[in-house]
Symmetry: none
Subunit: 169 residues, 4 copies
């Protein structure tokens, strides 16, 4: 907290006037970050009619997400490793996980409806997408250099979508 306040050029008193706790700040930052991601995803979704194409575009356009993750994920990892014991904070921290799972499940169902995807299990596919995204984000944070992560994400999702189109159960 001292470090944060010094970076921001304010005092600890000011910090605790604006945030109920250190975790309160992190939850705010998390929320703001995810909101930005949501907006970008929604924007991409609205420009595409076929869901299969929308998913691929989302991955390919994930440049800003990877760029931001480099600065934020480490912070959140540290936060989570501390907040791990407090149920309330913990619940708020993993809620986004579930949200994205539902979000992508719905996208996939729409993709099945519009015919751009095979009739696969949307829940499984959504977990796959989320796991892939999280896994790639983690890798990118651990090895930020020497790899074009957005491009890799695009290719990977293209491959997965390819499977979603080909799969016959």
């Amino acid at each position: 907290v001292i470090e944060i306040c010094e970076s921001a050029g304010v005092s600890k008193g000011a910090f605790y006037h604006h945030f109920p706790s250190k975790q309160g700040l992190f939850l705010c930052l998390l929320e703001a970050w995810l909101e930005g991601i949501d907006q970008r995803l929604a924007a991409i979704r609205s420009t595409q009619t076929a869901m299969a194409q929308a998913l691929v575009h989302m991955a390919a356009a994930s440049g800003s997400i990877f760029a931001e993750a480099g600065g934020r994920l480490p912070m959140f990892l540290e936060f989570w490793s501390q907040a791990h014991r407090e149920p309330a904070v913990w619940a708020a921290s993993i809620a986004p996980y579930r949200r994205y799972r539902m979000y992508f499940a719905r996208l996939i169902e729409e993709g099945i409806s519009d015919g751009s995807l095979s009739p696969i299990d949307s829940q499984i596919a959504a977990r796959l997408i989320v796991a892939l995204a999280v896994g790639l984000l983690l890798q990118s944070v651990l090895e930020p250099e020497g790899e074009d992560w957005p491009k890799l994400a695009g290719e990977a999702v293209r491959l997965v979508v390819s499977g979603m189109q080909a799969d016959r159960g």
Copy 2:
């Protein structure tokens, strides 16, 4: 550390007699865990001729891996969050990543050779596999209940392999 020692029924003195530090213990645990995984992967690989099938079997047989991962989340989080400060931890964190990436890249190349997979980019596919595995593991430890993770992993990998077979670039 105290918590760990109490769980084990020993004292801190005994702990520091066997391990150089807390991170030292975690490194040991990680190493032992990965070694076990390696052996199981190798065993599965040796029973299958077609690589595509081997990958699916690996995922489907991941029950013990998921079981062991449960409760290890704090360790992972601590590792990841410290990887940015301590080079030793960073090295230990990414080494397994690299190893599995190369391992799966080779598997995929063999799969392409034996015709069970399309001629895709093995590096990209390997990263996809690793990211998917890590992402699913993370999901499983975040929500350990109410889900058959090994089965889900099997389905997910089947979907991905399906894509690896269908993909034409």
Copy 3:
């Protein structure tokens, strides 16, 4: 201080506009409280001719004093504990003690004069009265429920006055 202000529905700015400090408020409250007590004691005293009866009536009529004391415990504790560090607080804490001691000493002397009390040491008796009053007040705020404190105070003082009448040194 924040708590006080929130209870009052004002802000800290308003508080420090009206009071020099937290202790300043407490001094005001103490003063106002004691003033009210003084008036009530004087009123009772004026209705009684025999001092022994006056004392018993004062105790029996202490209902409002006990009622007001309820919830003031934090204030008393803060006062007492700070009296050792800050001379100003110390002075404000013991002044009422001294005043009441002298007040009751005079009452007792008058009681001896009018024959309603034995010729006891008025200083000692006054300290006894004050100590008893403070002790009962403290008990009442520690255990506000399940006890009729004014009645108990009346009985206790009757007992003490009984001793003051019987005592032969």
Copy 4:
């Protein structure tokens, strides 16, 4: 806590190795203090056959109690003014109050049995005794100089016992 540790010549680490919290230390000290008082009271009680005399002796022999109070009560007052919000600590802090009330109530009942006291309400009389003791202790702490508190306590209790013997309800 820093202050305490510096006085004791140990480190904070050592402190929290021996006590669960600062309040834990205070509760230990309180317990030790009260235990000493209990022993002295029991010793006096055992040397006297008539309870009325025992009470007077207890008060007259309270020199060590007053002497110790000067050093400890301020500490406990400060402690209580902080622990005021925590129910568990608070309960442990006021329990002695109740214990002494019961203790003296029993003493008084024995005094009534042995004929050295009139048949008064033992509960009321016990509260009176405790209130008197606490009130005198508080006064002695606030004004440690210029007064022979043990002697005053002896005289006061003699007066009260006098009332307990004379009282006819």
